[in-house]
């Protein structure tokens, strides 16, 4: 579904030094509880053999996918893709924290805030966007590894960065009709891998690849067992009463049954 704005993160992996200032800025801006973060930096550890070594840090957060699998499973529509901004947001007043969406997200970017009983995730700091500011993580990034902007605007910082990029990597997932089309674009991700050997060029580290969306037993049972059975039961009883009602209409009402 095309939206008015097409916000995206562009993250230059080569510029990230794992300082994690973005995590702190995010937690402070969004009152994230101490035992969770909304954004992460994946530490690839030192790879390869001396002297060809590589140490990559991959910052990530909610990819604000074009067709997110998480909103598909939300029963009440508490999590949704915003029709204007295109961001994937959570209405925490409607959310009951059941975690269907947490299981369904291929990128594992959602968590349950058990104290409030709701699901929480990156909302690209919509409260800051509304007043014309960048998200807290982007504003605080010292190395300018994180960029954020509207891809629909050809002159935005992210559009320009993508045009000038040597390599762009997107952690897409496509299987069994599920195709989220994530909106985090990584710059220089494959180069950092290709230092190791020419074989690894174009390879993305296994650990940051998306996993299969997982559907909970409750949700699967609901969809695949409860709904068909109840639809059949309701159809049957409806047909029975419809049959007798039609019969009644055709035969006319008898005042006394004797």
């Amino acid at each position: 579904m095309p939206t008015k704005n097409h916000y995206a993160f562009v993250i230059d992996v080569a510029r990230c030094i794992d300082c994690r200032a973005c995590l702190v800025a995010c937690s402070v801006e969004n009152n994230v509880p101490m035992d969770h973060t909304r954004i992460w930096v994946h530490d690839q550890q030192v790879q390869g053999e001396w002297p060809t070594l590589s140490h990559t840090f991959v910052p990530y957060n909610c990819m604000h996918c074009d067709t997110p699998p998480c909103t598909e499973v939300c029963v009440s529509g508490a999590t949704y893709k915003d029709a204007v901004s295109g961001l994937v947001l959570v209405d925490q007043e409607a959310c009951i924290g059941c975690g269907y969406c947490v299981e369904a997200c291929p990128y594992g970017v959602r968590y349950i805030d058990q104290r409030r009983g709701v699901v929480d995730k990156c909302n690209a700091c919509v409260q800051r966007l509304e007043v014309g500011l960048q998200p807290a993580c982007v504003a605080t990034c010292v190395g300018k590894a994180r960029m954020f902007g509207d891809l629909n605007d050809p002159n935005s910082e992210v559009s320009v960065a993508l045009r000038n990029a040597k390599t762009v990597t997107r952690l897409d997932y496509e299987k069994a009709g599920i195709d989220p089309d994530p909106n985090i674009y990584y710059l220089n991700l494959v180069e950092t891998q290709s230092i190791l050997s020419s074989d690894t060029f174009g390879q993305v580290p296994q650990a940051i690849l998306p996993r299969d969306p997982h559907y909970t037993i409750a949700e699967e049972g609901w969809k695949k067992v409860a709904i068909p059975l109840l639809a059949a039961a309701m159809g049957a009883t409806f047909l029975v009463q419809a049959f007798f009602f039609t019969k009644q209409l055709l035969e006319g009402e008898k005042e006394f049954e004797e």
Partner: protein
């Protein structure tokens, strides 16, 4: 019990005579329940907007979200009415436990051998078989109504437990909230599946017209009771005869009254 050899004046008398079937407490609880369901069912269906489940049409979801202003407001309305419903139903059951609920459960809900026979014959008759076979006499509620009442009781408990689990969301672990949702859904729609039959039989089906009006007045005619709920009718007759005997006995035993009644003669 055949009615073929009942003479005309007796038939007219039976049509005139009214027997009390429902007490006011049950009538009011029933209609309160109806009102609550009319508010809860459409809003509840509107909340379910998961495209993967694909139950509710988009226009329905949007209409209700527009009426209430937002998703969260729609949910708040649903569970506020829900809590009022839970409170009133539980209040009625608990306050009237000994006076209304226990007699109702023990005299009107228990299945007996006739009921099982009825359950085996009636569906076949509805499909057009065994037309000649006579149905066994029924209690105040027939076997179908009795079985429906079990489903309603169990599913009502299911709704009343799974609903608050989803409202008091910080008290329960995610797995409980995950399971509560299908339980809530299943409990509601098991009742709704039966509800088609219940509403049709109660409000539209011509032979049961009296049953519908009895949910307002509490009374059915003796003729209707004799034809549809014979066992209950016989019980009522027995009560009446016992009452008559008792009154006669009292009149005989009271010398004051006999004197007075013989006085003016």
């Amino acid at each position: 019990m055949s009615h073929k050899n009942i003479p005309l004046p007796e038939r007219q008398r039976l049509r005139q005579k009214m027997l009390k079937k429902h007490n006011l407490a049950n009538i009011l609880t029933h209609w309160f329940n109806v009102g609550s369901w009319l508010l809860l069912l459409p809003t509840g269906i509107a909340i379910i907007s998961s495209p993967r489940l694909g139950i509710t049409p988009i226009w329905w979801q949007e209409a209700f979200r527009n009426i209430f202003g937002s998703d969260a407001n729609l949910i708040r309305f649903h569970y506020t009415i829900g809590f009022i419903w839970i409170f009133v139903i539980l209040f009625n059951v608990l306050v009237g436990f000994r006076k209304y609920f226990l007699p109702f459960a023990s005299h009107r809900m228990l299945l007996d051998r006739d009921d099982i026979q009825w359950m085996m014959t009636k569906p076949l008759q509805m499909m057009g078989f065994m037309k000649g076979k006579e149905l066994p006499p029924q209690d105040a509620y027939n076997a179908g109504q009795k079985i429906y009442s079990y489903f309603v009781v169990i599913c009502t408990i299911g709704i009343m437990v799974s609903g608050p689990v989803m409202v008091f969301k910080s008290l329960f672990p995610p797995i409980v909230k995950q399971i509560a949702q299908p339980i809530h859904f299943i409990s509601v729609f098991v009742i709704v599946a039966w509800l088609f039959i219940h509403v049709y039989m109660g409000a539209i089906f011509p032979e049961e017209k009296e049953a519908f009006f009895s949910m307002f007045s509490g009374k059915v005619s003796a003729w209707y009771a004799r034809a549809h709920h014979e066992k209950w009718y016989n019980e009522k007759l027995k009560e009446e005869v016992e009452w008559e005997d008792r009154v006669q006995q009292e009149l005989l035993e009271s010398p004051h009254l006999t004197e007075e009644s013989s006085g003016p003669d």
